[in-house]
């Protein structure tokens, strides 16, 4: 009998049910989309923050002093220690290799350039542009093009295996060269494939493939430092602890958290005779920006959840209010208060489940759309979200209709039948 009553209610009052269901669907859509965006926004913004450049640097352990002013390296060429280029793929073998989005090795070499009979000393910076690297079965492309997205080239980027170079724009202006020209460096003729504009020290330098710089230096396989771009977790007091003082489970927790310090520690482990640290200008500030944005989105998600809960409960309350006459009829026929209440609660639950499911599907689609149009990547919907959303939908629907049901059920059937309050 109970089931039949509920079924007939759905069959005969389609329009009313549809309206209530639509309200629930809309509310759940908004809630799902907002929760999906809020859980994923941290990772998305972290990736966007990587466009500010590398946040970690790996240098040789024994190396001490850099002599660089305004992009000109004044150090004697063979001075100091070097890292080995062959060790670089090991960066992708660290525990947090998935968080390392790009890296670029650097080898600054002082060369003399001949122009119109004059000789000047400039720095030739050897690096990777978009080099293919394999580590085990992993293949990836890395270099300055992925580590420093604000570098712009008018002309073409050199191939990593070629002997073409880029001329920094201020240097090019001083020398009067443009893309396609040939320059003479320490007796070798090289072709300028493009003019580089970075807004930094590189505008006064020549940027070349790493192999070429190693040739000029006379040290094959040498790398002076590696700038690494990694997705990190904002620093806290735990992050700043010295790993040598930690042990056991606490050490594991530190090691397995993607702090800038722990990733630097793992980089130094992976590359022999190296020292790794944060580039503080980038690493320190991104934590603050990320935390603020995440906090903002969290507040907005709460507001969205509140608004959708309100919308759903007010729709249910309104729907319930319209059916006072039905309640009166049922009570006049002898139904107890509990029986009447349970029929309406059953209807509400069914509506919530159906509307919730529909809302979840639409909400996921909406979240995907938002992710694709703003971040050009998918927003991942955690599978556990479905039962959570359905549970919330049922609870909110209950809460919305509860007081209305209680009031309706408490009415004297005579008054209810006559349509009076």
């Amino acid at each position: 009998m109970f089931v039949r009553l509920v079924y007939e209610s759905f069959r005969r009052q389609k329009r009313r049910k549809l309206l209530a269901g639509a309200a629930i669907t809309l509310g759940v859509t908004v809630a799902t989309a907002m929760i999906a965006v809020a859980t994923d926004i941290g990772d998305k913004i972290n990736r966007e923050l990587r466009t500010i450049g590398a946040n970690l640097v790996v240098t040789p352990q024994e190396d001490s002093l850099d002599l660089e002013i305004g992009g000109v390296n004044l150090k004697p060429p063979t001075d100091g220690a070097f890292l080995s280029e062959a060790d670089l793929p090991k960066i992708k073998g660290t525990f947090w290799h998935n968080n390392i989005t790009a890296f670029a090795p650097m080898l600054p070499v002082s060369v003399s350039i001949e122009q119109d009979g004059k000789r000047q000393d400039v720095t030739l910076l050897g690096t990777y542009f978009a080099k293919q690297i394999s580590f085990g079965t992993d293949h990836f492309t890395t270099g300055v093009r992925s580590t420093y997205p604000w570098w712009k080239v008018s002309g073409t980027w050199p191939e990593d295996s070629s002997r073409n170079v880029l001329l920094g724009e201020r240097l090019a202006a001083r020398l009067g060269d443009k893309a396609g020209d040939e320059i003479s460096l320490a007796g070798r003729q090289l072709r300028v494939s493009g003019i580089l504009s970075t807004g930094g020290a590189e505008d006064d330098e020549i940027v070349a493939p790493l192999a070429l710089a190693q040739e000029f230096l006379g040290r094959p396989g040498a790398v002076k430092r590696v700038n690494v771009s990694a997705l990190t977790k904002p620093e806290d007091a735990f992050a700043r602890r010295d790993p040598k003082s930690l042990s056991g489970a606490i050490y594991d927790r530190w090691y397995c958290s993607p702090y800038a310090q722990s990733i630097a520690f793992q980089l130094a482990e992976a590359i022999p005779h190296s020292h790794a640290e944060q580039i503080r200008q980038v690493a320190q500030n991104e934590g603050a920006v990320l935390t603020r944005i995440e906090g903002l989105i969290f507040l907005i998600t709460l507001a969205a959840l509140f608004a959708s809960a309100l919308a759903v409960s007010s729709a249910m309350a309104t729907a319930m209010f319209e059916r006072r006459a039905e309640v009166g009829l049922m009570k006049a026929l002898g139904a107890g208060r509990l029986a009447v209440a349970s029929i309406f609660f059953a209807e509400a639950t069914l509506l919530a489940l159906i509307g919730g499911l529909a809302g979840f599907v639409v909400g996921s689609g909406l979240a995907h759309q938002i992710g694709r149009s703003i971040f050009n990547s998918d927003i991942s919907i955690p599978a556990v979200l479905l039962p959570v959303i359905l549970a919330i939908a049922v609870i909110v629907t209950f809460a919305g209709s509860a007081s209305a049901i209680r009031r309706a059920v408490g009415l004297d059937p005579v008054f209810a039948l006559r349509g009076e309050l």
């Binding site: 930094g200 580039i279 309100l310 729709a315």
Partner: protein, 300 residues
């Protein structure tokens, strides 16, 4: 009559009127809060991005290394008028007493402290390097690293050996190992002129600063005769405002070249743009929901 009907309807069906009113108040409040947030998020986030340091660099026009005129900093301050911070930097290559070359920079410590907040400094030097006459007994045999950790300017210990005043300096962590491994005072020479330097603190940034020695601008100019060649400026405001400041700076200082730090500006624009877009989507959804809430209350 019309008014009477309205009032009676509200009074008699108090429950309905109140719930409708409540729904509308909540909807209006949420919508207002969302729109406010959307407009406001820019200024809030820009303030965070100023912590990245300079977004404008002023250099000598004819290439790096050329000095700017002596009044440059004053002019920059007047253009900025509180809309940012500026710090001057002068750079030379000096030599230690064993002939090792090292980069020495002269700057205004107070300004750098505000501009480059990410510098990890053990202790900032006191500005003045004028002679002080106190000699306490505990300074007789100070442990060098205690001096650096405690942060006291170790002028007293050096004054006993050197009559001329000594410059307090901030030493980069890499430079420290090379010039003052025990934290002792040391000498530098530039073009025949000597400077006695006392380590007052260390600085670590993970970048070029770690290999440099920083002294106050007054000491720097007095010793080398070289004026600052760079002024780093962190200008606050929207991209249009920053572009306006750049134009004003170019006009006020014709001998200087004004350059944007694209690394910071482009990164900031990108992150801010995406955050605003996300907020706009969220705001639209929330306002829609609030409207639905009001609608369903009225419909019943």
């Amino acid at each position: 009559m019309f008014l009477r009907m309205l009032v009676r309807a509200a009074v008699l069906r108090r429950g309905r009127a109140v719930s409708a009113l409540f729904a509308m108040v909540v909807a209006a409040a949420v919508a207002t809060a969302m729109l406010n947030l959307y407009v406001d998020v820019q200024s809030k986030l820009r303030r965070e991005f100023r912590n990245y340091g300079a977004n404008i660099i002023l250099v000598g026009r004819d290439g790096d290394g050329d000095s700017l005129p002596a009044d440059t900093l004053a002019r920059v301050d007047s253009v900025l008028a509180g809309r940012g911070i500026a710090a001057p930097f002068g750079l030379v290559v000096a030599r230690t007493s064993d002939g090792q070359p090292i980069v020495v920079a002269g700057t205004d410590f107070e300004r750098v402290r505000q501009l480059d907040k990410w510098w990890s400094v053990s202790s900032w030097p006191a500005e003045s390097s004028s002679s002080s006459d106190s000699t306490s007994s505990e300074d007789q045999n100070p442990h060098p690293f205690d001096k650096l950790r405690a942060g006291s300017v170790a002028q007293d210990a050096t004054r006993m050996g050197h009559p001329e005043s000594s410059s307090p300096a901030l030493i980069g962590v890499r430079a420290l190992a090379a010039v003052a491994p025990k934290g002792q005072a040391f000498d530098l020479s530039f073009q025949g002129r000597a400077l006695h330097v006392t380590p007052a603190g260390t600085v670590q940034t993970g970048a070029a600063e770690d290999s440099r020695i920083y002294i106050s601008l007054a000491d720097f100019v007095a010793w080398t005769g070289v004026q600052p060649s760079t002024v780093e400026v962190a200008a606050s405001g929207s991209p249009e405002e920053v572009a306006g400041i750049m134009k004003q700076l170019a006009q006020a200082i014709p001998a200087g070249g004004v350059r944007p730090v694209r690394q910071i500006m482009e990164g900031e624009a990108r992150v801010l743009g995406k955050t605003r877009a996300t907020l706009l989507a969220a705001a639209a959804l929330i306002i829609l929901t609030a409207a639905l809430c009001v609608l369903s209350t009225l419909m019943g």
